[in-house]
């Protein structure tokens, strides 16, 4: 469950103030945020992830007002309740695939369950990469590892920043399917920001910035 009200943001070194429309998502509801480059999509996503602090307004995730948390509380909340997916970089380079997942759980202060990790990798079809280094993975495998990283800790919200823009149609569909499937399985809200028109039909709820 996510709700934002009167969210505004201003970068320190810029005059422009971003004003964002209010968002109301119920249990397991997904949202697609569309918009041109530079309009503040990523900024909104980072506000929701607690990576940026709003100038004004409120953000509540599962009834926790995250705009009011201390830095440390916010780090912790983010680790436990938010899953982030990026366009290109998906995992820590120096760690192997399975180590990345373990590190993800470690930072989220959640217990590591090897069978669950194995299941997840199996499900995402990258079980054979378990002990590979991140740089040995193909683009498609990396994308799936990114998904695994965003859900291994069973977050409340999955935030995806342009997850499909560098993928071909085939992979684009697969990735979106997996994402929605995993969000569903975890009862998590999935919020995707993109300018990729291909995934538009997959969402019922859309927000145009």
């Amino acid at each position: 469950m996510i709700s934002t009200k009167g969210l505004t943001f201003k970068y320190d070194n810029q005059d422009a103030v971003f004003k964002f429309p209010d968002i109301e998502l119920g249990e397991s509801e997904n949202l697609l945020i569309l918009g041109k480059s530079g309009i503040g999509k990523t900024t909104l996503l980072h506000l929701l992830a607690g990576l940026l602090r709003p100038m004004d307004g409120s953000i509540e995730i599962d009834d926790v007002p995250i705009h009011g948390l201390s830095n440390k509380q916010l780090d912790r909340f983010r680790g436990q309740n938010i899953g982030l997916i990026f366009q290109n970089n998906h995992a820590v380079q120096s760690l192997k695939v399975v180590e990345n997942l373990k590190a993800r759980l470690f930072f989220a202060k959640k217990s590591v369950s090897p069978p669950r990790i194995a299941d997840l990798l199996e499900h995402l079809d990258i079980a054979d990469c378990t002990n590979k280094k991140v740089r040995e993975l193909s683009e498609g495998q990396l994308q799936r590892l990114g998904i695994a990283m965003s859900i291994v800790h069973q977050p409340q919200v999955i935030l995806a920043d342009e997850p499909t823009s560098s993928l071909d149609d085939d992979n684009c569909n697969k990735v979106m399917q997996l994402l929605m499937e995993q969000a569903d399985a975890n009862d998590a809200n999935l919020i995707v920001i993109t300018h990729d028109q291909r995934i538009k039909p997959l969402f019922t709820k859309k927000l145009e910035l």
Binding site: G79, F86, R104, M149
Partner: protein
């Protein structure tokens, strides 16, 4: 999974940089430790060797040489002095004990020192077996001599002329071992102690025996050790003529080891001797201080080189950590997005620095110990000196403290980007 594991993975992720950091740091640690240890052992060994000797009186010449020759037994003596004259200085009430020594021969590189019963007492040496030397041609062995040469009570051997192992000719009269001393860890251990008479007799005999030979050789013989030995026989010869038995008043010794009864003697006695007699008096402690001033330059130079390398290694570690923080900023931002807080990331970098420092410290100490061990082996081999191989806790902790300080400094500088990290900015500029 924990911070330590992640740090070690980071460390392994860039093996070349890590290796470079470790290499430089361990070299500087090895140099620092090694030179400190050598210097300390060297001083300790020399000072230890002094025993109760406060002053040494010998022929005029270099006082340092006199100390090195007659106290530490690593140099050749300055010449001989008359026993009678040397004894006269003992009349001074401030002087406690005077032990005459006379030497010029060796057996397999170990010096044969003709002296009195008082000599072992200077080093608190006690007999392990056998008895004290009582007659001419009897010897008692220091523990190292007995051990290395495998000599037993009752064994006899022929001494060689001169102080070096090779180059002298053998004397005919065999010396018989009558006693073996317990280890003193002082210079005494590597000496063969005998009576003054033995030295006199051997050379007197030699004199009678091969007068012609010796004289012919004299002109062109440049072997220094041999020459020193010659001096002794030579002066005997000149003093005695063809007399078989020397008169007491003309007997010579190499030097007189003196211990003071009153420390005030330090101020007056050496000056009196130097000004009023044909002999010179040298204070071993004072001469050693002078010696340290020479060796100290080398020690200081190496220490400064070690400090320079330490600073360079700290810079290398800093660059290694800083590169990690800068080049892999995205990875660090990712970890922040996973819920890691700033402190955890700082710990991650710090642990990596500590891993480098820790490994380098172990290697550094190891290298220094191996190095020092071989240097000591060499010294033992060449100078028949055994130095205690000891690793001082103080040096260890001092060096460790310095290394920790440098590493902490590099860490502190390297983590700055983490503290000021803007996660959002890094993550949104991922392309």
């Amino acid at each position: 999974m924990n911070i330590w594991k992640i740090s070690i993975k980071n460390f392994k992720y860039k093996p070349l940089y890590s290796f470079l950091g470790i290499l430089m740091l361990s070299v500087s640690i090895a140099l620092l430790m090694g030179i400190q240890q050598l210097d300390k052992s060297f001083r300790q060994q020399l000072e230890n060797n002094l025993g109760d000797i406060d002053m040494v009186v010998g022929a005029k010449g270099s006082p340092l040489q006199l100390v090195l020759a007659s106290v530490l037994h690593i140099d050749n003596p300055t010449g001989n002095i008359l026993f009678e004259e040397a004894k006269s200085i003992l009349k001074n009430p401030m002087i406690g004990k005077g032990v005459p020594i006379s030497y010029g021969d060796n057996y397999k590189g170990y010096r044969i020192v003709g002296t009195t019963q008082d000599f072992p007492e200077l080093y608190n040496a006690q007999l392990k077996e056998g008895r004290f030397v009582q007659q001419s041609m009897e010897v008692a062995l220091g523990s190292t001599v007995a051990e290395t040469l495998g000599l037993q009570i009752g064994d006899s051997f022929q001494s060689s002329h001169g102080l070096a192992e090779k180059g002298g000719h053998d004397h005919d009269e065999p010396l018989t071992v009558v006693g073996i001393y317990k280890p003193t860890h002082k210079v005494m251990d590597r000496l063969i102690v005998t009576g003054l008479e033995t030295v006199w007799d051997v050379h007197q005999h030699e004199e009678d025996h091969g007068t012609d030979n010796e004289h012919e050789e004299d002109g062109e013989h440049d072997e220094e050790t041999d020459h020193v030995g010659h001096d002794e026989t030579e002066s005997h010869h000149e003093g005695e003529g063809e007399h078989h038995h020397e008169e007491e008043s003309q007997q010579e010794i190499t030097s007189m080891l003196v211990s003071f009864r009153n420390p005030m003697a330090l101020l007056t006695v050496p000056r009196t001797i130097n000004e009023n007699t044909n002999m010179q008096a040298a204070l071993p402690k004072f001469e050693l201080e002078r010696l340290y001033q020479f060796t100290g330059i080398g020690v200081k130079t190496i220490t400064w080189i070690a400090y320079a390398i330490l600073i360079i290694s700290a810079i290398t570690i800093f660059i290694s950590l800083y590169r990690m923080v800068r080049d892999r900023a995205f990875d660090l931002a990712l970890m922040r997005s996973y819920g890691a807080n700033t402190f955890q990331l700082i710990k991650m970098v710090a642990y990596e620095g500590f891993v480098i420092a820790g490994i380098a410290f172990v290697f550094g100490v190891l290298i220094s110990q191996i190095g020092v061990f071989f240097i000591f082996e060499m010294i033992t081999d060449q100078y028949k000196q055994t130095m205690p191989l000891q690793l001082g806790f103080q040096e260890l902790s001092q060096t460790a403290g310095l290394v920790v300080l440098m590493v902490l400094l590099s860490i502190a500088l390297a983590i700055y980007p983490i503290v000021t990290m803007n996660i959002s900015k890094i993550l949104s500029h991922e392309k």
